[in-house]
Symmetry: C2
Subunit: 226 residues, 2 copies
């Protein structure tokens, strides 16, 4: 097993190097990059569809939709009005890596882009270990899952800056407790920015849009690292 | 990357060898082994809680509950009446492997056992690649996820024998279509046995219990491989 660990370390180092190059390239252009993670079915694509509907005309967005096997998510995002949408099919791999994102970004003219929004593969474990050069990870959890998810998948919640509690319209159909999930999440990561949303009813989305607008603005006001 | 692939192959071969030994050991005792897989939050633990409540006095069951970081699931199963419940904490790993299961089984007296039910880590990708020596994989999908999950995570649905569509009480709160998910699943795996359940209302669980009883009986009637 020692050999395996050594090799994985080498692979990770290569990933970190590529992620740093992405961060540098986007940083120079003051483009905000977000890496959206969750388990399958929490509503990542729905959140992006809604976000496109409201913000698509206001923000110059590139959307990168990772998926194990299909281009379904990318197709949904194009239908929702995404102007620059790129699928990544991992062909079985359980997470995106910086190399896949690099290859997509190389084919794009990022001239006017303000936001690169990456939808990772649905998985609460593996994507936590792969830096994609993002500014922040946004983790989505839905009220139909257990409210102990932050304790069960701590790496993901520790490495995220934002947690969105989605499907709040379905509260009451399970034992999911919003206060408890927040408490569990803040035990792991006291600095988490938390939103409560329903992509079905629209509840809470305005706060999310306002945060996103602010985050893009703050990034544009930053002096790029030379 | 060649080196990585080679090493992973070696690790997988070791896993396959250990899985074969588990299969042999349980087969000789005519114990049915099931490997329960799903994304986080589909209701694996809830299904096992219900199954314990109904079948715990009728079937001699060993429950093995895999989790990345906590023993929450094992604690819930003990509370639900599980007599032999063993947690496996993977410490960050995204799936159980045959070595972890071997170590648990070695510590148990399987004399009266009829069923070993393994709850895998919540993940629709990685557990599909690791044989645990089970007779069958049971994949759980909930109606709050997308009905295209079988197409997006085909390996898991191809390698499963049973698909349980859970949370059918929440149908109508999303675009999830039961016929479509069945059609998608059967495109990947025409032989899937399919159940529709709600662990909250109890709908459909009797059919699942009947199938489970039958599967245990069929295994006990089998002449063990020598």
């Amino acid at each position: 097993m020692t050999e395996k660990i050594k090799v994985e370390k080498k692979v990770l180092t290569k990933n970190d190097r590529l992620a740093a190059a992405i961060r540098d390239r986007l940083g120079k252009r003051r483009i905000l990059a977000l890496n959206l993670v969750s388990s399958p079915g929490s509503g990542k694509t729905s959140l992006l569809e809604k976000t496109l509907g409201k913000m698509g005309s206001k923000l110059n967005m590139v959307l990168i939709a990772g998926d194990v096997q299909t281009e379904n998510d990318a197709a949904r995002l194009e239908k929702a009005g995404g102007k620059i949408v790129r699928p990544i099919i991992t062909g079985g791999a359980c997470h995106l890596d910086a190399n896949m994102v690099t290859r997509v970004l190389e084919q794009l003219d990022l001239g006017e882009t303000e936001l690169v929004f990456i939808e990772n593969v649905g998985n609460l474990v593996c994507p936590s270990g792969y830096d994609l050069g993002e500014d922040m990870k946004v983790v989505l959890i839905s009220t139909t899952e257990g409210d102990d998810k932050p304790l069960k998948y701590p790496a993901m919640f520790r490495r995220s800056s934002v947690m969105i509690i989605n499907k709040i319209d379905l509260l009451g159909y399970s034992n999911f407790d919003v206060d408890r999930v927040k408490e569990n999440a803040r035990k792991i990561n006291p600095d988490l920015e938390i939103f409560e949303t329903s992509c079905r009813t629209g509840d809470g989305l305005d706060e999310w849009y306002a945060w996103l607008t602010g985050a893009v603005r703050r990034k544009r006001e930053k002096t790029p690292a030379v």
